[in-house]
């Protein structure tokens, strides 16, 4: 029922905006307001802080339905969850009380700043530093490829607080909440991207940003562990975005194949097209079922949550890329131009193979779960 409610909203209110959001590459504030007004941004937050207390599967159903018509809009929901996860996992009651009501109502946005120019897959090698000064921390460094970094009010940032060479790599980072008004914080550039063009991807500068102790999330040195637990729960959101994109492309291709006639009949009646559509449908459904299963396993506290999370993103991301590429093929020349949405969907699909860990990192996570190697 919740899925159907979000689907109606996506079809009626977001789908008509999708092409323009992509063309102008501007953050869709109107869609953000719509998601806030319908409590969709409140899904991940506890009820006592104004949220809906939804489980992971419910959040993913919403992201999937929105991404079916507009991947940029689906990402708004996914990033609001991603940025808030460190607080959900490790925040104090005081921190939750302070930030969750505004986040749940969509009055404020939050982003997740882990990646740096030289620390992508190897997140533990981050260079951004936080040094203690009395009861404050002073953060210096840069974060790159931060989704919605330029529109967020709060930035969940991971910085090195212990650079003693004797300290294990995974004990060096600490998590902080930076507020955008803090002196020394700034957006240094916005990337020009191939897909999800309405979602601003920013490079963020921290030049001596003074952060009170009250904004530290979790213990000192716990940052890397928090980041990894965050990704275990957030990757299904990206898988949901990928399944949604694939479903959207499949629907456009199937309808086109029914209406487009060549050699006197609808092209869908030709076996080569029919077989492509069948594979697209079967692949999308397989990815969807793996995602739903992963959501329930992770929600139930499975010890191999990292594996489920990595598997669903791996399969869904690759499926989205393949299905959208085939959708362009089914539409032929019409698929390659912006008169139809499948070229946009193909560009959008690519990011799901890259962010929140490349597909190669997902395989690494799965392989480590199989061989029992930690870290």
């Amino acid at each position: 029922m919740l899925r159907d409610a979000v689907k109606v909203l996506a079809d009626e209110r977001i789908a008509p905006r999708a092409a323009e959001i992509d063309r102008t590459a501007e953050f869709p504030w109107d869609v953000k307001e719509l998601l806030a007004a319908h409590d969709i941004l409140g899904l991940p937050f506890p009820e006592e802080h104004g949220g809906l207390g939804a489980e992971l599967l419910t959040i993913c159903l919403a992201i999937e339905q929105i991404s079916r018509v507009c991947a940029t809009s689906g990402l708004i929901v996914a990033v609001q969850e991603l940025g808030a996860l460190p607080l959900l996992l490790a925040g104090t009651e005081e921190q939750r009380k302070r930030w969750f009501p505004d986040l749940a109502a969509g009055r404020t946005l939050i982003c997740f700043a882990l990646t740096e120019a030289e620390a992508g897959s190897d997140a533990a090698s981050a260079k951004t530093r936080a040094r203690r000064d009395g009861d404050e921390w002073v953060i210096d460094g840069s974060k790159r490829f931060i989704s919605q970094g330029s529109v967020a009010d709060l930035i969940t940032v991971f910085a090195v607080t212990d650079d003693d060479p004797e300290t294990p790599r995974h004990k060096r980072l600490t998590c902080f909440i930076v507020e955008k008004e803090m002196a020394g914080f700034g957006v240094e550039r916005i990337e020009h991207k191939m897909g999800i063009r309405g979602s601003p991807t920013a490079e963020l500068g921290f030049r001596g940003v003074r952060v009170p102790e009250a904004n530290r999330v979790g213990a000192e040195g716990e940052g890397f562990a928090i980041a990894m637990r965050t990704l275990d729960r957030s990757r299904p959101g990206i898988a949901a975005q990928a399944v949604g994109i694939a479903q959207g492309a499949l629907e456009v291709a199937a309808r086109y194949a029914t209406e487009r006639k060549q050699f006197g009949r609808p092209i869908g009646e030709f076996q080569m097209i029919g077989a492509m559509l069948a594979d697209m449908d079967a692949g999308t459904e397989a990815a969807r079922q793996l995602l739903y299963k992963a959501c329930t396993e992770i929600e139930a506290g499975a010890p191999d949550a990292a594996r489920w999370s990595a598997m669903c993103k791996l399969v869904a991301g690759d499926t989205a890329m393949r299905v959208t590429t085939d959708a362009v093929q089914v539409l032929g020349g019409y698929g390659y131009i912006d008169e139809f949405p499948v070229e946009r969907m193909m560009r959008d699909a690519k990011i799901t193979q890259l962010y929140e860990g490349t597909q190669q990192i997902q395989r690494l996570v799965i392989a480590r779960a199989l061989t029992g190697r930690r870290g």
């Binding site: 029922m1 319908h38 409590d39 939804a54």
Partner: protein, 263 residues
């Protein structure tokens, strides 16, 4: 005000997934169901009345197979307080007389000021269950309401009853049974908050034994009417969709109709 809404789960007209059982009757347990359209309009009115009053409750009452709790959940997501589902294997195949008796017995177990029902259902369409229930329970019956205005202090309700010429304004003491149509207003979409809240709302199920009804007097064995035959309609010819600009599309539609001498 305390309101009971008779909300029947009917086959989803948009799904086309109705299944007929071997006896030619609709297999309700295996057909995708939604809340009957006219019942949604009266439910919307009931919710508006308690929203405006700032208090009260809306109980959704249905007689259906056990999986109808899923359909009732949507009514709860729209804002109804709780659900009462009469379900029993012996009910399958009940005629309108038995349905009326069962719903009247269930309604008698509830405290209410207003009982609301759609004027008819999109499946059976007999339109007699509402007035029948009112008769058996001994309630005044006001039909085809375009407005419903309860006066809790005076314990009366006033409705605009739709007539061929306009409206008759009629008044009755509460409790009362009122039937309505889409004239009462578009049903709301359930909000996400409503959907999440509905998961924990109570749906009580009642059996025939709970209501003191002999199973032999209802269902297909006790039916006063029987289904002689049923057939699926012939599939329609392929649909042609005109996707041109409005002016071109209008010309195409006119020539299509003119060629067939429809206009």
């Amino acid at each position: 005000v305390r309101i009971v809404v008779l909300a029947k789960p009917v086959p989803d007209p948009a799904s086309g997934g109705e299944r007929l059982g071997p006896d030619g009757r609709l297999d309700r347990a295996n057909s995708p169901a939604v809340v009957n359209g006219n019942d949604e309009y009266v439910l919307e009115k009931a919710l508006k009345l308690i929203d405006a009053a700032g208090e009260g409750e809306v109980i959704v009452l249905a007689m259906a197979p056990p999986n109808a709790t899923e359909t009732m959940r949507k009514a709860l997501a729209m804002g109804a307080t709780r659900g009462v589902l009469v379900t029993d294997p012996a009910i399958a195949g009940s005629c309108t007389v038995a349905t009326t008796r069962i719903l009247a017995a269930a309604l008698k177990t509830l405290d209410f000021d207003l009982a609301l029902a759609g004027v008819d259902t999109s499946d059976g369409g007999a339109g007699v269950v509402g007035p029948g229930v009112a008769t058996l329970v001994g309630l005044p019956y006001l039909s085809y309401a375009a407005t419903i205005e309860p006066d809790p202090a005076a314990r009366t309700v006033r409705v605009n009853h739709i007539t061929a010429a306009g409206y008759d304004v009629v008044e009755a003491p509460m409790p009362v049974l009122i039937s309505g149509t889409q004239a009462l207003g578009e049903p709301r979409y359930p909000s996400l908050k409503g959907i999440m809240a509905a998961r924990n709302k109570e749906i009580v199920t009642l059996s025939l034994a709970d209501l003191g009804i002999d199973p032999a007097t209802v269902g297909s064995t006790g039916a006063t009417t029987k289904v002689v035959d049923s057939r699926a309609p012939e599939p329609r010819a392929a649909t042609r969709v005109v996707r041109e600009a409005p002016d071109v599309a209008a010309r195409e539609l006119v020539s299509f109709l003119a060629q067939r001498r429809i206009i």
